[in-house]
């Protein structure tokens, strides 16, 4: 259900860290809460962000949710497929609906990120 190959935030984002890079997306719970996604605003490659800063936004028909990065880094690439197919965030939030790939600053992920089991417990609680 909730992939255990990545970390989670209390704001229902996931982060998959590998080789000094991190891919960021939102969870299945988050996409269900948002409803039909119709537009995703993503940062430009090369932009640098501090941990906790807002890097973009996901717009559903009814609501908007800001995207925050839980880690410091610079944008390597963004998911350009979302421009024509924002619904990928709904259909495949843990795969094709990824948002951005960040090159991590040296300090790496903050230690307040959750494992899949912890995140599942938060959802259940």
């Amino acid at each position: 259900m909730i992939p255990d190959d990545r970390l989670y935030t209390a704001q229902h984002e996931w982060l998959k860290v590998e080789d000094g890079e991190a891919v960021l997306g939102i969870t299945d719970f988050a996409q269900q809460e948002l409803g039909d996604v119709v537009f995703v605003e993503l940062p430009a490659p090369g932009q640098e962000f501090a941990a906790g800063s807002e890097i973009g936004a996901i717009e559903s028909v009814k609501a908007v949710a800001e995207i925050y990065t839980p880690v410091a880094g610079s944008v390597e690439t963004v998911n350009e497929g979302l421009e024509d197919a924002p619904e990928l965030v709904n259909e495949d939030p843990y795969g094709g609906g990824w948002l951005v790939r960040l090159r991590l600053d040296d300090e790496g992920p903050r230690d307040d990120l959750m494992t899949a089991a912890d995140y599942e417990a938060q959802l259940a609680g």
């Binding site: 409803g35 537009f39 009814k62």
Partner: protein
């Protein structure tokens, strides 16, 4: 938080709920896009039982309503309905409403849930001031309201409540089972459709019957999410959001509900002044041309008239049009409202996005052969 009598039915259909005007209402079932499309292409069914129904009866009902609403209730015949409003002395909206004429001395006002208490208070005070001759009853709690909307609504309604309903003209209605049920050809989606007022204790069965018998025609339950995108595409105002106590019918492009020759009514003097001197504020429609979605509270500025600007009152992605649209309340001090086609910008999260002023409505239903 209150619930409508159809709450259990919504849970069965997998609704996601949200608060609206003190009620826990279904926001969506399958999804806003699917429900919106169903109403435009086939049919959708909404529970709008949160709406208020206030009955005004008696020999002095007509003069009372003529005095309190800007439209001409005197022009209304039995079994016809009329869009109107309750206004302040400043000519601004307390509420927008439908007036149903049940008989020469018998009217039903259908009002918004959020303003129901205030409307009732106002009507009761006006009735008391008249002394005898008019009685005001709040029938909201014993009345449920189901809206069936879409190009296939007529055949579904004919199947469930009888063919006579499908013969109704726009803004007409009929009674069934005495007064237990009232079927009206009205709606808030921009499609053909019906609103069915029923005794609250019979609503669950009626809802289930529509779901069962309408499914072949593609009927699906639709929530307030789709209702909002549908009404916005159709250029219909949402009271408390687009129109409120700071907005007059003239500013909202609803001058047609103001009947100048019918005699005096609350707010008339202020509206006459506005008609003669022009108005500073205007509600305008706009389309977003750049990438992004304007939302309630964002600021729209007309490009060639930077002094002409104001907040977006409704903004959403329009599923039928495939682009973002909105209504903004512009302050055009000195100048008139911007011409349709004028370039504008809206500021979204610090970014300026190109927009264009357009005439309302955004969407008009295609004429279909009978």
């Amino acid at each position: 938080m209150q619930r409508t009598v159809l709450y259990r039915r919504h849970v069965e259909s997998g609704a996601r709920f949200g608060p609206f005007a003190g009620y826990e209402m279904p926001i969506q079932y399958e999804g806003v896009l699917a429900e919106h499309r169903a109403v435009r292409e086939r049919a959708g069914m909404f529970d709008v039982s949160h709406m208020g129904e206030i009955r005004v009866r008696g020999p002095r009902a007509l003069p009372l309503l003529q005095r309190l609403t800007p439209n001409d209730v005197g022009a209304l015949h039995p079994f016809r309905a009329q869009y109107s409003a309750l206004l302040t002395e400043r000519g601004t909206f307390i509420d927008d409403l439908l007036v149903y004429c049940l008989g020469p001395e018998d009217y039903l006002l259908v009002v918004n849930a959020a303003s129901r208490a205030r409307d009732l208070e106002l009507l009761e005070a006006a009735a008391a001031a008249l002394g005898q001759g008019v009685r005001v009853d709040d029938q909201s709690d014993e009345t449920a309201l189901i809206a069936v909307q879409g190009p296939r609504a007529a055949e579904i309604v004919a199947d469930v409540v009888g063919g006579e309903a499908a013969e109704l003209r726009y803004y007409s209605f009929l009674h069934q089972d005495g007064e237990e049920r009232m079927v009206s050809r009205t709606g808030y989606t921009g499609e053909d459709g019906f609103e069915i007022y029923t005794a609250a204790d019979r609503a669950e069965d009626l809802w289930a019957e529509f779901l069962e018998r309408g499914s072949d025609a593609g009927l699906m339950p639709a929530g307030l999410g789709a209702r909002d995108t549908l009404r916005l595409e159709a250029g219909m105002m949402l009271c408390g959001q687009d129109i409120d106590e700071e907005t007059t019918p003239i500013e909202a492009g609803l001058s047609w509900i103001v009947k100048w020759k019918k005699g005096d009514f609350t707010g008339r003097d202020a509206l006459v002044r506005q008609r003669e001197n022009g108005c500073r504020h205007r509600l305008v429609g706009f389309e977003v041309e750049g990438r992004g979605i304007a939302r309630h509270g964002h600021r729209l500025t007309v490009r060639d008239a930077p002094g002409c600007a104001g907040p977006v009152t409704s903004g959403a992605f329009a599923p039928t049009l495939g682009k973002a649209i909105g209504i903004a309340r512009l302050d055009c001090a000195g100048g008139g409202p911007p011409e349709p086609g004028s370039a504008a910008t809206v500021t979204v999260r610090g970014r300026e996005i190109d927009c264009r002023i357009v005439r309302l409505p955004f969407y008009r239903r295609p004429k279909r052969g009978v």
